[in-house]
């Protein structure tokens, strides 16, 4: 049994010779990985380099001779960076939870409460996800002004769900669809209310979906740029991507070390989170596309 399984999983690879595999598989993969990862390596190396090494053309730029933490020190103690970090965390976490809660209700309603036009609503949700932020930011800016939210965290917390909810709802709809009707019918016969069904049966079964949607939503709001750039202007409420881009770039002399350190620290949280939940992340992404 295991023999045949192994054979079928390997397919026809045994027909290939080793040199051929090296040329057609390992070399291209190595090149891909090098190109895809090089900017990160470059970020790390730059953030540890002292300025003298950064601003010279001599020596080997791929390595750092005298590593220094000066850039990190500058970043953490002489710029509002920690504040931006905190803002990003607050905004991402709150808007993620908010969108997730709203999406659970929306997805459940669309999938299981058979009301008129539920199909159309589902489609509309999907189309809403396709509306890009770069079209919406101007009218949203006008609304944010009108509501008096300009330059507050609330401006971001309330606008991020515009792209989070459609995405999460779409993802969760797929998960809810895969839960058999019969379970709900059993519960109904036993006298459970809709609310009990949702909380005690559907949600526990949809935990993987919830995790996927949550992680994805968190990453999306962490990486958000254009809304944060438009709706917020004072340094105390900026998020990390916007803060680094707008405030650390000053004058004609770029502080590459500090910039790269900021980029590195800003990327780390999502990267760490991602590394813990790779499978959920991938299933979320491909699941959203496959439907």
């Amino acid at each position: 049994m295991s023999q045949t399984e192994k054979a079928s999983s390997e397919g026809m690879t045994y027909l290939e010779s080793l040199p051929r595999r090296v040329v057609t598989l390992y070399v291209p993969i190595a090149i891909f990985l090098f190109v895809l990862l090089f900017p990160f390596y470059w970020m790390v190396i730059t953030s540890f380099k002292p300025d003298a090494e950064l601003l010279t053309r001599d020596g080997n730029p791929f390595w750092v001779v005298a590593p220094t933490l000066a850039h990190f020190e500058k970043l953490l103690f002489h710029t509002p960076y920690p504040e931006w970090m905190w803002n990003t965390i607050v905004v991402s976490v709150v808007s993620t939870f908010f969108s997730l809660a709203a999406s659970v209700f929306a997805a459940y309603a669309i999938e299981r409460l058979r009301f008129k036009g539920s199909k159309q609503t589902g489609l509309a949700i999907f189309l809403a996800y396709l509306v890009p932020p770069s079209i919406l930011f101007i009218p949203l800016a006008a609304i944010v002004f009108k509501l008096g939210l300009f330059d507050t965290k609330w401006a971001l917390i309330l606008t991020y769900p515009t792209f989070l909810i459609p995405f999460c709802t779409w993802l969760l709809m797929g998960y809810f669809r895969s839960i058999p009707f019969e379970l709900e019918e059993c519960a109904l016969i036993d006298g459970a209310t809709r609310w009990q069904i949702l909380v005690k049966i559907i949600l526990p079964l949809a935990v993987p979906g919830l995790i996927s949607a949550g992680i994805f939503a968190f990453t999306l709001s962490w990486n958000e740029f254009i809304y944060a750039l438009t709706f917020v202007s004072s340094s105390e409420v900026k998020t990390v991507p916007v803060g680094v881009v707008t405030e650390l770039v000053e004058g004609d002399v770029y502080h590459w070390g500090a910039l790269m350190a900021g980029a590195l620290l800003g990327s780390l949280p999502v990267a760490i989170m991602y590394s813990f939940f790779v499978e959920y992340y991938v299933s979320g992404m491909t699941g959203a596309v496959k439907e």
């Binding site: 999983s9 929306a106 890009p132 770069s134 101007i138 990267a271 991602y274 790779v278 596309v289």
Partner: protein, 284 residues
């Protein structure tokens, strides 16, 4: 049970309408505008910079999408082969996609730096060039530089999604084809491609949409320069609306993107997705 619906209505549908309406007014920041009809669009049509931005956007989207698709498909097929540490590779490949674009764009900005670019340094040491390349200083070089950054960011998404599609194709189909004497190219052309078309359609729609409306990369790396040669519609509308204060004009530019996006969606929907036999159903 639909609080989400309410929120979406207020913050999504209403802004869409408002945006279209703003496009027909001469609203400035801090001053309500009046209806000016098609004036904004007429002005933009005669505006050199806008035309250039439109050309840049189309060029950027087309080149980047095609290359992303080709390289992404190739990478997906490589990852679909029998490979040690497969899941590790797959995880690493996605990294460019998940880190904040604004921050990785900074890294690219540094890589393209006119004086200390690592690319120039390497090419110099190899003896291929005798002078540092000013990547972001010349219009065409700058265009291709930002396109390269966009491709870098987009490949993982395309590759991982296509990989998910490839994994659903049974290896026995390839074996059958090989027994019938199909060459590797024929196996790709007549087995892989037809079975993958539906997912390619969806993935490329997403890819085109996000490339067309790209903002972060351009804003961080070039801010539209040099000489507006890398301005996209999105960055131009930001510049006119927020930095320049003419909300109406910016909104008009943003609204002008909508027809292109609709065209892209409809094209992929009707052109590529309709063949039901590919999903195991009957052809209609």
């Amino acid at each position: 049970m639909l609080p989400a619906g309410l929120l979406l209505l207020v913050f999504l549908t209403y802004p869409l309408g408002l945006g279209t309406w703003l496009g027909f007014t001469d609203t400035k920041i801090g001053r309500a505008g009046v209806w000016v009809g098609l004036d904004n669009y007429r002005f933009l049509w005669g505006d050199e910079v806008t035309r250039l931005a439109l050309f840049n956007t189309l060029f950027y989207t087309f080149v980047a999408s095609v290359i992303k698709f080709a390289l992404g498909l190739w990478l997906a097929m490589l990852l679909n082969r029998n490979l040690p540490f497969k899941s590790f590779f797959r995880a690493v490949v996605l990294l460019p996609f998940i880190v904040p674009t604004a921050l990785s764009a900074l890294a690219f900005w540094w890589i393209y730096d006119a004086q200390f670019s690592i690319v120039s340094w390497s090419l110099m040491k190899m003896g291929l060039i005798d002078r540092y390349i000013d990547f972001l200083g010349e219009p065409w070089l700058a265009r291709f530089s930002v396109i390269a950054a966009n491709i870098w960011r987009g490949i993982p998404f395309v590759a991982i999604c296509l990989l998910a599609g490839l994994q659903t194709i049974s290896p026995s189909l390839y074996e059958a084809a090989a027994l019938d004497g199909a060459t590797p190219w024929q196996r790709f052309r007549f087995v892989t491609l037809p079975l993958l078309t539906p997912i390619i359609a969806v993935v490329m729609t997403f890819s085109v949409l996000f490339t067309f409306t790209d903002f972060q990369l351009i804003y961080v790396i070039t801010r539209g320069g040099p000489l507006n040669s890398t301005h996209l519609m999105a960055t131009l509308s930001f510049q006119r609306a927020i930095s320049g204060g003419s909300l109406g004009e910016g909104a008009a530019i943003a609204t002008a993107m909508v027809p292109f996006l609709l065209a892209a969606i409809l094209f992929s929907y009707f052109g590529l997705q309709r063949r039901a036999w590919q999903q195991g159903g009957n052809d209609k």
